[in-house]
Symmetry: C2
Subunit: 334 residues, 2 copies
DNA sequence: GTTTTCCAATGAAAGCTTTCATGGACAAGG
DNA sequence: CCTTGTCCATGAAAGCTTTCATTGGAAAAC
């Protein structure tokens, strides 16, 4: 059952059927109705491959996610999928193994002839510029959106949160409420990971609180899991490290800090204040609920899809869109 | 740069180039090498659409997920994507709005001519058989895998956990350790939701503990969120309902129960035992960590992909594969 | 009544690969 | 030296849609 069959049964040419299919204008109302009727009665669906061949596009966008199992990134994927679908695009999944084979994933998506690429998760953008070459190469062939980090180059569009500013604001808040020794936990030395760290430092500097490098801890990979974080903090405490607040780059780390407090019998926020980042669904899973920096994920996703759709439609679009994070205070800060 | 260009430069016919591309046998080693060399030097990539048109397949599988934002299902998606890729298949995303427009999603995927469909999440299979018609229709055209629930029909293959048995085992355990009033919280009256409920009842019956319908609570949609669960339990307690254990159909509900215990100042597991389901990453986010039923998600996903690959290769495959759940005891049970 | 204009419909080519049926060359066997 | 068989390579068709350039016809203008 192809377009020839339909054209025959409807008594028109295949070109006319095609125009009905594509909603093109030059078709009389009566012809259109007749063709549509025949298509419906035959249960005809146009062949997607032939269509792709003719149009050079199957209206599909490739999604690369740093880590699917991360609830925050999964939420981002859900938003993106929904918004892209609303714009008529389907989503092809690129792998999760960001570090391992980013190049391979991008190649795969390129070979599938997707119309555009969305990179989800700041850790897909390395702080070392040379490592980002695969992205730059991909952007030569199709538009690339970066969600959650910034990268400049032709064909690359970034949508992200002012991580530095948001972290500075949150830490300033902790200092203002009397905390003096703020432990900083971060899970990735990526582009945005370093931005956040900068925000932490800026806040200390503004408040004239001396920086103690012992209070800055990178908890990467497995070590970012709540239980691992809890145990690490218990260990640090055993070694005599003192701190009255914990600022984190991710809610998972904050959960670990909360586990530590519960285990150690510390009152939260009385003896220990904790601030998470991303304001993901995790934040409300704890008791007390996490204060966390809301980085406007939904708005970022909306903007990301809008920008991509604009670019694909040949319109102008902003190369960078920045959102401001905002601290949502719940039960782990005063 | 198409197959003609390559054939010319390599001094062979396009058919030969195609056979090199597809790893077909009838090509002499020297010719193969020459063609590959030319392809590499030209940076040639075959057109995916034309290929799909010729082969009638683009080696793509459609993934439909009940709820992307659920960490457990997101983990399943991550596994599936990785395993499918290892088998040479790409993944096309179907929407998350399971209840709303399952039919639409399936249609969309069918129109994209995917090779198979994987339905992720038990709530995609309704307990009312009539509601599953869209799935049965889809299965007439391509193989459909159901992950996490069972559905019978031509072209449908199910991989799932014995939810009833696992729940029965967990509740029996709670009863054995002395609990007498076990609150049962479930989040979906779907196929597997009801199976689990049956397991709860069977355990009570076996132990000759009378059933109290006030102890069986459906917490659907928004009401399944941890905070909502906590508040609901506080309310029930205020109304005088007593219970010494909480069995749940999902870790999120168990987290809510734990929040309730922490808020109400109840000792866990001393005064209240709690058991989650799925043994997702959430289980270890709490303090104490959740005891939870491990339903072997990874194995399920492996099997799911194996079965689908077998079916697509024209081989025989089991219509149903059942895994046994297993209670992982952590900090919320004795 | 004739010419112009415009719109709807058409034919044919383009887009790129896969694969079947066919052809040719070469080696081995008679 | 001829025949047979094998193996590799080739030409051409099939797969289905989109779209450009063109034609046909009807309505409007003169």
């Amino acid at each position: 059952m192809n377009i020839y069959d339909i054209s025959q049964r409807a008594g028109v040419s295949i070109a006319t059927v095609s125009r009905v299919l594509n909603g093109s204008s030059r078709v009389s109302e009566s012809t259109r109705r007749k063709v549509e009727q025949v298509m419906a009665s035959c249960g005809y669906t146009p062949n997607a491959f032939a269509r792709g061949l003719g149009l050079g596009s199957m209206k599909t966008v490739g999604l690369l996610c740093a880590d699917f199992a991360d609830p925050y990134l999964a939420q981002a994927m859900a938003y993106l999928e929904a918004f892209l679908r609303a714009h008529g695009y389907d989503c092809l999944l690129g792998g999760c193994g960001a570090a391992g084979n980013k190049q391979g994933m991008i190649d795969l998506l390129l070979n599938k002839h997707v119309d555009g690429l969305v990179l989800v998760g700041s850790s897909l953008v390395e702080s070392d510029p040379a490592m980002n070459q695969p992205i730059l190469d991909a952007a030569k062939r199709l538009p690339v959106m970066i969600l959650g980090a910034a990268l400049d180059g032709p064909g690359i569009y970034s949508v992200f949160c002012d991580d530095r500013g948001a972290t500075e604001e949150a830490v300033t808040r902790l200092l203002a409420q009397g905390c003096r020794r703020v432990l900083y936990l971060y899970h990735s030395p990526s582009y945005s990971g370093l931005k956040k760290l900068q925000g932490y430092r800026d806040a200390l500097a503004s408040a004239h609180v001396p920086e103690d490098t012992a209070l800055i801890r990178l908890m990467e990979g497995e070590r970012a899991n709540p239980t691992a974080v809890r145990d690490e903090l218990l260990r640090l405490r055993g070694e005599g490290l003192r701190f009255d607040a914990v600022m984190t780059s991710d809610d998972k780390l904050a959960q670990g800090a909360l586990k530590y407090a519960l285990k150690a019998g510390l009152a939260v926020p009385g003896e220990l204040s904790i601030v998470g980042f991303n304001d993901s669904t995790l934040a409300c899973c704890c008791e007390p609920e996490l204060s966390s920096v809301d980085n406007k994920l939904r708005s970022q996703c909306v903007q990301c899809v809008e920008t991509l759709a604009a670019v694909l439609a040949g319109k102008d679009a902003p190369k960078r869109t920045v959102f401001s994070g905002e601290l949502t205070c719940r039960g782990t800060t005063v």
